[in-house]
Point group: D2
Chain length 325, copies 4
């Protein structure tokens, strides 16, 4: 007999809706309550998804006794308080990244809960992308990894305002790739350098990050706020016995042969389409870890590591020097 | 304001479940009743999908007043009677292919209802596959089409029993490709020849079909009941100004570079995965045609054409001659 | 110590020059004499290639005592007489295809020389293309072959005059593919059907040929006198344990990613570029067979088979029926 | 009427033979003399290539009056003296890279001859590779370039002895990529950082180089002394309007579809095969520049730039810091 997990979702904006869609693809869960500061959004979402309860005050979700786990999809500034309150109420917690902009608060949370890795999972969804996960799973085929290369380019630059609020390219964009680098290397960074340029906005929008890990792996990340040909997400791992690469997904599988060229389709337009499956796999991993009483596959420790690296990139760029961690 | 369409589904076996899944991805419809001869299957399906009514007797679905449209997913031998009864009860009808094994009955149905193309749609799902649909939509890029090539190979041969009941390779497998040939050529066949061999079963399981259409297009279809590397579904259209091809979808986007080769993943394993989106697009097209009061995009006429062609292939193989239509 | 083979070349037109270029890439041969009806062409070719003797009368080449082997690259109508004379003079003979348009003369030649397969090689250069040869060499990987598919399309249609003189699409174009089908299937054809259309010239310029071989393999060849995207040369072999395909070579290895598509380069423009290496490998195979006293890898028997098939295609098209061989 | 250029070649080891082969593909040149310290190698090479004169003393080549241009393919330590002597004897000079290990000597040579760029060409052959040249030629398609990525990996690590004599990975391997970065960026480097690891030898054999150019372009080079899957040579240029990439050449164009994967062939094994055409194009460019009285397309200035960058990489690695140029 399968246990059914009761779930609450806090925050029903874009990322909240993505997680709701992902949750609906899962078996053996019930979404029993949602909350959003907009009463209209809370009501509509509940109705459309046949969710019994909806609130404007998230405390109601956190205090509902029959809820086993909560999804925190609210704005970043609410994350830490909601995570702590959820943990106090004995809920399993899934929190969207970033956990907090202040690394000392993350460290403090880690210190407060010795079993945190079994109670809190952080949303580094790309780890659960079937392609990246398969690359990691087959890494032993290539022997000892020596070079990791990650390409991550957005299709179009953000608005100036978003760009300013986002915390800059390293905390907003590169953080995913920095986590991926840690995920693949299974090591800690010891040297980091970032070089960048401003092509589309007033902030650094194009950057090359180079990392040396303690286990000897060296890694390059290239990020651009704009790639006119579409959302470009690639990974390449060189080892002493071979190479594994993850290529982009094409929107369709047509080829058009004209007099001058063979044209194939561009890539998935943006993260919603490209990483659609990753959100479902992420949710599954959360549920499975709870049921099997295992550590979550992406923890507050991982969030801290990525945050430390993003900060090192910022410092490296500003001070124009190699940063030692 | 959007109209909501009430829908009933008859037959809840494998293909019925596929259509139910597709329907659930649609907006502005309600599935209000289902039926299956197995009371257990009817009940479970209704519960799982929160469908208000379920029956063992399909007449209940056809006579339910508030139902606008029915999906006929029962075994082939029931199709014709259920279609006729549904039409008599003023339902829009979606019927899985084949409509009937007896071409005279299809012709008779067409004769009975002058407006049949606005009332009955036949399930040639591949027409709605995003890749094939995009190929058709961009055909003018290649000028006047001259050669169509269709490859369609199943991953593994059917059981001897299935093979016998299936009506043979032409009515069971090739019929999809024969319809695709008509769909792309937008013409009627005038010459057909089929050549085949028996490699895996007691029936012809490997075949090459060549068709000459009235508009001058020539077409080759190759079918095999077995392709050890997976479900192989390709289309190629040569025109006087270029070529369009539809390639297979890979299961993942990894490449593994070993000492001896570059390995990429195999294709989607079978039709459920490969054509998943086509069932959703097909259902959308059905709903849209009803709402916009248009002819359905795949009709009893199309079913008749494909059936005539499949029969011509059988005759050609048996008599070892070119068949003129 | 290596034996040096002395070689004469008869006919210095386009195909003669191709063979000369190929011969220059070989070791342990001397080109000692050439002939052409044009004294100017004979002289210039000899000078440019530092060939000691040149003639306008080919008899001089055939009677030069120290010549071991001759390359016959003259117009088709001269082939048979020159081949016979060369054989009488105890030369090893390489003759460009077709050996003769009259199949009875080929049969008669075969009857005259019981050891002909060790004395005369016919120029089916595609057998020596590294890609096609590798496909044939690895055929056991795919188990028992069941379907062969050959695509062969010229970049642009020939002039009406060439088209008329060429002997039609089957003797001029398809003959290469018919030989390839025999080469890969290692069997004899028992049924042939050809269907065609006229799109660019007054003759059939687009055709689909279907063959059933005695060993059960079925084969489709598609030919077009025009492919606006370039010279299209593909081969695909399906077996019960896998598939092998030969893809086109691209002119370069660039990809250009624009807003709307990923563009890669077109194919090698025509046979000179696409099959350049095949002429060198063919010449090597000729020399090696002589030195190792083996049968040549493409013989008058092969020429006869291809010619019989081309003729069967013509009959099939004319009489609109399946031809039994 | 075409002028014929008389050419002498000094040094007939591996690289000398490569250049001889390339020269033989050219028209309107005569190789009139060669020299090598091995009398046997000099004689054999002359005989095989029908070259009139051969010497053990290179001075004979440099003083032969009718020679217009010399190819210097001797060991690096002889380059500078031979170049100077050749220039004094009014020969056009092609010199293999590196011109000299001592950058001050290169600078001094540049200072001595104000018209040096029309008299001395340095062998950066990759600039003449058809794919890289085409990438550079089509760069305007992608607007303003923002990121350059270069991958260059050897198939197997060198012997320890070669590794020691080679001057290290930056002067031996990376120097080609550093020149490529300058060639594509058309700018001067202002910041360089190199991070590396030792996986196969006692020296750094795996490295990531990051460069910031004065025009804002940022560039990453990744080098490995070993890539078990073959010689890996790639280039990627991102611009604000698109991307251009150069992919590897495959050894053949076969695909093998097995139950578990689609296998295609590995890449050209090493530089001899991969860059074969580049040596011919390089030689053509040398000849053309002389005939058209233009600057050579790769000069001592370029050699100096690449050498300065290689040295900066060494310093960066040693001192673990970002180097400002």
């Amino acid at each position: 007999m399968e246990t059914i997990l009761n779930i609450g979702v806090i925050g029903l904006g874009r990322i909240g809706q993505i997680h709701l869609s992902a949750l609906k693809a899962l078996k053996n869960i019930n979404i029993t309550a949602v909350s959003d500061t907009s009463p209209e959004l809370a009501r509509k979402t509940a109705e459309k998804n046949r969710i019994p309860k909806f609130y404007t005050d998230y405390h109601n979700v956190l205090h509902q006794q029959d809820i086993d786990a909560v999804w925190i999809c609210s704005p970043t500034s609410y994350h830490m308080a909601q995570v702590r309150e959820a943990l106090e109420n004995n809920k399993y917690v899934f929190c969207e990244k970033p956990l907090d902009k202040d690394r000392t608060k993350i460290q403090s949370l880690i210190n407060s809960y010795p079993d945190l890795s079994r109670r809190l999972m952080i949303g580094f969804n790309r780890r659960f992308d079937p392609d990246f996960a398969a690359a990691k799973a087959s890494i032993k085929k290539i022997g000892k990894p020596t070079i990791i290369k990650i390409t991550s380019r957005d299709p179009f630059p953000p608005s100036t305002e978003y760009s300013r609020l986002s915390g800059g390219i390293y905390n907003d964009m590169s953080i995913h790739d920095l986590d991926m680098a840690c995920f693949i290397s299974e090591s800690d960074a010891e040297q980091v350098i970032a070089i960048g340029s401003k092509n589309y906005t007033k902030d650094t929008d194009t950057t090359l990050i180079t990392i040396k890990f303690k286990n000897g792996i060296i890694c390059n990340i290239d990020n651009s706020r704009k790639a006119s040909y579409g959302y470009d997400q690639r990974l390449e791992i060189l080892g002493d016995k071979g190479m594994i690469s993850v290529e982009n997904k094409r929107v369709n599988h047509l080829c058009y042969y004209s007099e001058n060229s063979m044209e194939s389709s561009v890539f998935e337009p943006f993260f919603l389409e490209r990483y659609k499956e990753s959100y479902i796999e992420e949710a599954k991993a959360f549920i499975t870890s709870i049921k099997e009483k295992k550590e979550f596959p992406s923890t507050a420790e991982d969030a801290l590591k990525a945050s430390v690296l993003a900060n090192a990139c910022e410092q490296s760029l500003e001070k124009q020097k190699l940063i030692f961690l």
